[in-house]
Amino acid sequence: MPRTVLEPRFHLEHLSILDSEGHLDTALEPKLSPEELKSLYRAMVLGRRLDERMVRLQRQGRIGTFAPIKGQEASQMGSAFALRPTDWMVPSFREAAAMVWRGWPIEKLLLFFAGYVEGGQPAPGQRDLPITIPVATQLPHAVGLAYAAQYRGDDAVVMVFFGDGATSEGDFHEALNFAGVWQVPVVFVCQNNQWAISVPLKKQTHSKTIAQKALAYGVPGVQVDGNDILAVYAAAREAVDRARAADGPTLIECVTYRLGMHTTADDPTKYRSEEEVKMWEQKDPLTRFTAYLKERNLLDPGLEQQVDDEIGEAVRRFEATPPADPRTVFDHVYAEMPPHLRAQREELARRLEEAGTPPPPEPAAAPPRATPMRGQRLTRR
């Protein structure tokens, strides 16, 4: 019996439109209006400046540990920019720029990293899930959201973010497998920043790319230059449109680099070389996009100041927040408060009162829910 080549042959692309030398492939250049280009740029600058400010706040002990995004602005903003507000975004823990773009107030992000429960509450009606810390567990959730959208005939698309390290977790594979079998509208965005804390990509997987992992599940995979905002956007646009047209999920691998530390509790000089970091600094996504906009006369000279003012305002509001009320530890454990928790809450309130703390607020009422998948057509599946 002869050996035969099986069909289908797998097909994998790498997409790059604007490289670090400033070369532009005009045939592939996405059609973005000047306003769109400017708002994309603003979101990236805001992401960068906020990141730098947050590192300082953490160093001063004003917020806790967090995962900086420096260097990954293009890969997250290019992706999230392809979403509608009625689509869902499911973050991991390194998407601050995209989260703010989607409508998380900056002070909520700060509150989150200062430990306030308010930081985990999206605005009512906002279709975003909160930050996920257990690596890759958010991927099946995204498939569930997409299944629910399909179930209700809602045309929402779900975009889920994760890192290169997350692709070694079972949940990554289970979610991709599900999405493939069900053909649900999910866009999987892997921010391959080369490192999972101190573990380099080559120790995470023997695959040449992460994009190719999709192929085993019958899902299209594409690798893009993750520091090229135009390429990321083009790939995301295509994937989001395909998902919305009921043509199924896509895996996008954004090849990027974490220029900063894993979290503020990490010292990357312990495990990677300065040359490597320098090499990637040459490919900074902001530098490249700035040059592109400069050539088109789209740079707004007051932008950085504007952005810093916005961040400054948010920091002031954040700092004006009183410390979290101890009584709230019992709130929201269950949808309703069971007797044993009510008893504990009352006991604590009594002791606080005896100690001269101001009287207890009523159990915090949950603000209106962010679950707006209602009233849509019931079609398909």
């Binding site: 985990g120 257990p134 959730h141 079972g170 269950y334």
Partner: protein
């Protein structure tokens, strides 16, 4: 009332809730075409179609996570575990997301999911398939944990669990599926979560048990009645949140307590019950609380050893006599 099996009662609950609420759907391995490994989902695919009775690939963590995602945005998934022993693969999804999301999102997202399937000792299913899995879950704030003993409870509690806005762990039993009992046919019949039931009134001693152990304790109570010992039997039904009031009330009446559980005793349900009874009703106790538990070893495969590992009628009766100071009886 109709007489039906525990399995049929569960099926009826699912069917009624799926008819009542278009957001309810069933998802798991073999739940559709095959109608469930233990046939609990019989006929559902035919009535509700593949959108609402969803066969999945074999991936407990994945389909639990998918259910959680769907629940976050308002659907009401009922996830079937082929047996609860496999739910450990989904433990992270259950403990770190289902139980935490409402808390961590300040009430913005809740997870109205039911995770159900059989658990506990059965007939020669061996060490990996006979575990009393409730202990893994009732430790976790944010989860509700239900163990329904009778067909009526199976129906009433499953319906309440589906309507509940929290994640509910609902553990049935392989050995109880064929057990028959009276079940109300009224589609509005529900049994609230968090309410224990006194299955037999008595005045000398309170015995707490659930699932197969309740049936065994019932036989013991009838036997001991012939010796003149009056046993009150309490079934907690919901292990979390637990109806401490009914239990304390019974102890205040009988002044003696025996807790029976099929699983290994260390840090088991009996430990918790003994502890809160001691805290809240120490002065009412006339004897130390006794626990009758499974041996602290994995479940053996051999039939004779399996029998030795689980609490026997003799052991239960001996404990009851001991707390009643009737050792010779």
């Amino acid at each position: 009332m109709a007489v039906m099996t525990y399995r049929e009662a569960l099926n009826m609950a699912l069917r009624e809730e799926m008819r009542r609420d278009g957001r309810v759907f069933v998802i798991g391995e073999e739940v559709g075409l095959y109608e469930g490994a233990y046939k609990v989902t019989q006929g559902l695919l035919k009535e509700f179609g593949p959108r609402r009775v969803v066969d999945t690939p074999i991936c407990e963590s994945g389909f639990t996570g998918v259910g959680i995602g769907a629940a976050m945005v308002g659907l009401r998934p009922v996830v079937e575990m082929m047996t609860f022993n496999f739910a450990i693969i989904a433990l992270d999804q259950i403990v770190n997301t289902a139980a935490k999301l409402h808390y961590m999102s300040g009430g913005q997202f809740n997870v109205p999911i039911v995770i159900r399937g059989p658990g506990g000792p059965a007939a020669q299913l061996a060490a990996q398939h006979s575990q009393s899995m409730e202990t893994y879950f009732y430790h976790v704030p944010g989860l509700k944990v239900v163990r329904p003993t009778t067909p009526m409870d199976a129906k009433g509690l499953l319906k309440s669990s589906i309507r509940d806005d929290n994640p509910v762990i609902f553990i049935e039993s392989e050995t109880l599926y064929p057990v028959k009992g009276e079940v109300p046919e009224d589609p509005d019949f529900v049994i609230p979560l968090g309410k224990a039931v006194v299955r037999r009134e008595g005045k000398d001693v309170t015995v707490i048990a659930y699932m197969g152990m309740m049936y065994r304790a019932m036989e013991v109570a009838e036997d001991l009645a012939k010796e003149g010992l009056s046993v009150e039997l309490v079934d907690p039904r919901t292990l979390r949140p637990m109806d401490t009031e009914t239990i304390i009330g019974s102890v205040r009446k009988t002044h003696r307590l025996v807790v029976v559980e099929a699983g290994a005793g260390f840090a088991g349900m009996g430990s918790e019950i003994a502890s809160f009874v001691t805290e809240q009703a120490f002065d009412d106790l006339d004897a130390p609380v006794e626990r009758v538990t499974g041996a602290n070893a994995p479940m053996p495969y051999a039939r004779n050893l399996e029998k030795l590992k689980t609490p026997s009628k003799d052991k239960i009766a001996a404990a009851v006599r001991r707390v009643c100071g009737a050792n010779g009886g």
